[in-house]
């Protein structure tokens, strides 16, 4: 039996909790903007005045970068990898085993709360202004908007399952530096968050297409700028759904193993 009300309470509390950390919201928004400016300038320089590259117009490319930074903001507002590791290390997560709820779900719903707060108070106002004053490509119909939102949400779930699974590996490993590197490498490059997949060399593109990370940034973004359209969208959503199921199973597997192996500090 799924107790929605219980998990929803976590969403509400996390929303309220975010309000306590206003400085955190502003500093995160600040760094988000800096990265946006950086990637914007880099791509402007790379296009070097050309109207089009790789079959994509400069305007679309700029839109891609803006949407990508928006999604980075959304995904970054959840419980980050280091915090999950910290909670494993201090035993906080283990102690939650003696509460009558499912721990991975409880963190997911709490993340909904903090992400919603960040979107409403910071991301949405900023990016609305950006879309009004910059020359960016907007989806033509409401269907594309809806599909983008659905796709971005599925992407968020894929990212959550993978990030949580990676974080829970701290139960088994003492040193996790390597894990963190692999995670961030995949998250920034293979997801297409900074360089769209169509600019990848053939072999890397093939690799990225067969991995779940493209479902987090590339697919929703490609839907937004119209790089993927028509029946292709449904296919991409299908791919995302496959990966959300797979990463959810991975998370369940890691969690089950981890909760059998709990070691809480102390005699």
């Amino acid at each position: 039996m799924f107790r929605f009300r219980l998990y929803w309470t976590f969403t509400k509390k996390a929303f309220l909790r975010s309000a306590v950390y206003r400085f955190d919201v502003w500093s995160r928004l600040g760094s988000n903007l800096i990265f946006l400016l950086m990637w914007g300038s880099i791509w402007t320089a790379l296009y070097a005045g050309r109207e089009e590259a790789g079959g994509v117009s400069f305007e679309s490319m700029l839109t891609y970068i803006v949407v990508s930074q928006f999604l980075t903001g959304v995904n970054g507002a959840g419980t980050p990898l280091w915090e999950i590791q910290e909670k494993v290390r201090t035993g906080d997560i283990s102690l939650e085993l003696m509460r009558p709820f499912d721990v991975p779900l409880r963190y997911l719903f709490a993340d909904f709360g903090s992400v919603a707060f960040y979107i409403l108070t910071a991301l949405l106002p900023l990016y609305t202004v950006m879309f009004i004053f910059m020359d960016l490509t907007l989806p033509s119909g409401w269907e594309t908007w809806a599909l983008f939102i659905v796709s971005a949400f599925i992407g968020f779930l894929i990212r959550y399952c993978i990030e949580m699974s990676f974080g829970l590996l701290s139960f088994f490993l003492v040193e996790t530096g390597g894990i963190v590197d692999v995670f961030y490498f995949a998250m920034s490059l293979l997801s297409g968050s900074v360089i769209p997949l169509w600019f990848f060399p053939g072999w890397l593109e093939t690799m990225a297409i067969y991995l779940p990370f493209q479902g987090i940034y590339y697919i929703p973004n490609a839907i937004f700028i119209g790089k993927i359209s028509g029946a292709e969208i449904l296919l991409s959503l299908g791919v995302q759904l496959f990966w959300v199921a797979a990463s959810y199973l991975l998370l369940r597997f890691v969690w089950n193993r981890a909760s059998q192996k709990v070691v809480v500090q102390g005699g």
Binding site: T9, L95, R99, Q260
Partner: protein
């Protein structure tokens, strides 16, 4: 009727062995050896409904490990645990509804939420009916004085306030069993006393079964009738505290201040084990000789200025049991 049953409980931990030196470091990159540490080895006990039991032992004895197996956080290596008819680690979420847990060393409240919101969250988590929640909150607020800090975030609470909030939080869902892991650690005398009164009251009025681990023997003396003493992962003693006190409590110490400073004091039935100028510490067995008998012997040759008779504190009895074991200890012990 037993509400907690533990049989032949064992818990091993594998600890990675650290090799020393450069070669050792390289070797451990490829292959790491593990050492088995037996935190709990073969512990059995059963606790009846409504009992309040002191579960004590020195640091690293396996107290917290046992508690964690009872709460379901840890999976035993072997043996069986049953808490209110449920095997905790197999059914953590069901078990959770039957237990309340307080860890003195860490809070289980949400660090950055106002205290009241942690309570509200717990109300949802444990599906406490509105009426019950209100009733409990009223009672706890009254006894523990929660109202002075309900709107303060948990991270800003003083240790005493935090402990009060934590124990109230652990009882919101009316669990039949309460685990208290060092609930008075770090508290001042007044706060300790308040905490003890509260624990005693909830045990009596709600007949909650309480298991208490602590290093403060006063907690045990004031709260529990029964104690389970463990050391090196094994049970050393399980029974009434009064029995231990009776068995080892026969030793008395007579401290006398004399008007002069004799070189020595020879007494029948008493042993001088410490002397300092004109003050003498004399140990004797209450069953063999009376204090007045000893005093009479002393006054035959000396003038007594002042005297006191001390009985052993449970604390020193227990520290002796740790050192020498329960069975091996002579009844009249040096305390």
């Amino acid at each position: 009727m037993p509400i907690i049953e533990v049989e032949h409980l064992m818990k091993d931990f594998m600890i990675a062995k650290r090799e020393t030196g450069f070669l050792g470091a390289v070797k451990s990159l490829v292959k790491r050896e593990h050492i088995k540490k037996e935190a709990v080895k073969d512990i059995s006990f059963s606790i009846n409904e409504g009992e309040m039991v002191g579960y004590i032992g020195p640091n690293g004895a396996g107290k917290s490990t046992t508690i964690k197996m009872l709460t379901g956080i840890l999976v035993p290596t072997s043996g069986s645990v049953k808490v209110n008819g449920i095997i905790p680690y197999e059914n953590r979420q069901e078990n959770a509804k039957n237990i309340g847990v307080v860890f003195g060393q860490r809070t289980q409240l949400w660090w950055d939420l106002p205290t009241i919101e942690s309570f509200e969250l717990l109300k949802e988590i444990y599906q406490v009916p509105d009426k019950r929640y209100k009733g409990n909150m009223d009672t706890f607020t009254e006894i523990l004085g929660l109202d002075e800090f309900l709107n303060t975030p948990v991270r800003q609470l003083s240790l005493g306030q935090r402990m009060r909030a934590d124990i109230a939080a652990s009882l919101l869902h009316d669990p039949p069993i309460l685990f208290l892991d060092e609930p008075t650690i770090g508290l001042d005398v007044v706060a300790k006393e308040k905490m003890r009164t509260f624990i005693k009251e909830i045990n009596r009025e709600r007949s909650i079964t309480v298991i208490l681990t602590t290093h403060d023997m006063e907690d045990i003396e004031k709260l529990c009738e029964r104690m389970i003493l463990i050391d090196h992962g094994q049970k050393v003693y399980d029974g009434e505290i009064a029995v231990v006190k009776e068995r080892f409590g026969k030793t008395r110490t007579l401290i006398v201040d004399l008007e002069e400073s004799p070189h020595s004091l020879k007494l029948n039935g008493g042993e001088v084990y410490k002397e300092e100028a004109s003050r003498f510490w004399i140990r004797f067995n209450r069953d063999e000789v009376s204090a007045s008998g000893l005093i009479a012997q002393i006054t035959e040759t000396h003038n007594i200025k002042d005297l006191t008779v001390e009985e052993p504190a449970i604390e020193s009895i227990i520290s002796r049991i740790y050192q020498e074991g329960y069975q091996d200890l002579p009844e009249t012990v040096k305390l």
